[in-house]
Symmetry: C2
Subunit: 199 residues, 2 copies
């Protein structure tokens, strides 16, 4: 953050644990505002996640349909998942793609990051592209139920337009896909073997 | 949800209140999985929000820079905010744009919805476009500190490409902006006076 941002910056003063649930970890921080007054900020602590834009040899994109209880709906999404403790980003992307869809990819490219909920979570999602896909057996977690399908890029973008895709990470994946396919945004592909590829 | 989704659907059985903070409201639902077993789902209850893609007469887009404590950074974002109790979506968009940036818009168009965090929040954000902007005095909430600036659409997309924009809602706004400007996606503009415009 630049010196010019002193009029915006908040300084953390203390942290209280609010909730350690089965799944969610929530804290409340006391912060000093730029005005000198104090305020509280409550948010979810998250380990980080990955999302995969996996393109089949015929150009179609691997998608999932999964019931999302908070939304009360089956949602159309790109494959994604949370980092395990100590897991690297690319290792997580390989694992989630294989476990959820069965696919293994021979080439990977790191695209960028997105932050889904900057007001109340510290989650960041790394965006990976994958190609050179080979099908295999998926290995869903206990209690995980999802369908795997594929959409052409045009179909995927039509779903973003008409509301069939509302999941933010997937909409951001569509922004990347559109600009990569048009040639406006370029990716650095790698076989993903070297550990440094995740940056 | 179609009959075909029975193999994905979860049935809510009961709800426990986990946290009623100053800002966050978290519940834990017990659900019946498609397999018949039960599981718990913890998530944030959210009133919903709006985001505004506001285009100045010279084509530039109104943006904000705001320190986001969970991220520990100043983030570059489109104007956005939460619905007040009983507030309509367009009324909220008008209010947030005016309070945070000072601008009032003579024309509005509803674009679509995004769900930022489908795994652990029920938040939905309505995406609005605004044009015919007239500057005025902004009225920030107590404890709210943010800078207002503008970016050309090309600058905004360059920021999405190179990581200066990581906020998911803003990246989704860029997807909409790019496709509206290219003519691939169309909007239905209105003066926003009739209450039914929010759909």
């Amino acid at each position: 953050m630049s010196e010019n941002d002193r009029h915006l910056r908040e300084i953390a003063l203390r942290r209280d644990e609010l909730l350690k649930g089965h799944f969610l970890h929530v804290v409340r921080d006391e912060v000093r505002l730029p005005s000198g007054r104090t305020a509280t900020r409550e948010f979810v602590l998250h380990p980080g996640a990955v999302m995969i834009v996996a393109q089949l040899d015929d150009g179609r994109i691997v998608m999932e349909r999964q019931y999302r209880h908070p939304m009360g709906e089956v949602m159309l999404e790109l494959p994604a998942g949370k980092l395990d403790a100590g897991e690297g980003s690319l290792a997580c992307a390989r694992r989630e793609l294989r476990e959820e869809t069965g696919y293994e990819a021979s080439e990977w490219a790191f695209a960028g990051q997105l932050a889904p909920t900057i007001a109340y979570s510290n989650e960041r999602i790394d965006i990976w592209f994958a190609r050179g896909l080979h099908p295999g057996e998926r290995q869903l977690d206990e209690g995980e139920f999802l369908d795997v399908l594929s959409l052409s890029p045009d179909e995927l973008l039509a779903c973003c337009r008409d509301g069939r895709i509302q999941d933010a990470k997937t909409l951001v994946g569509a922004l990347w896909l559109q600009n990569v396919l048009s040639g406006h945004w370029t990716l650095a592909w790698s076989d993903g073997v070297e550990s440094g590829v995740a940056g």
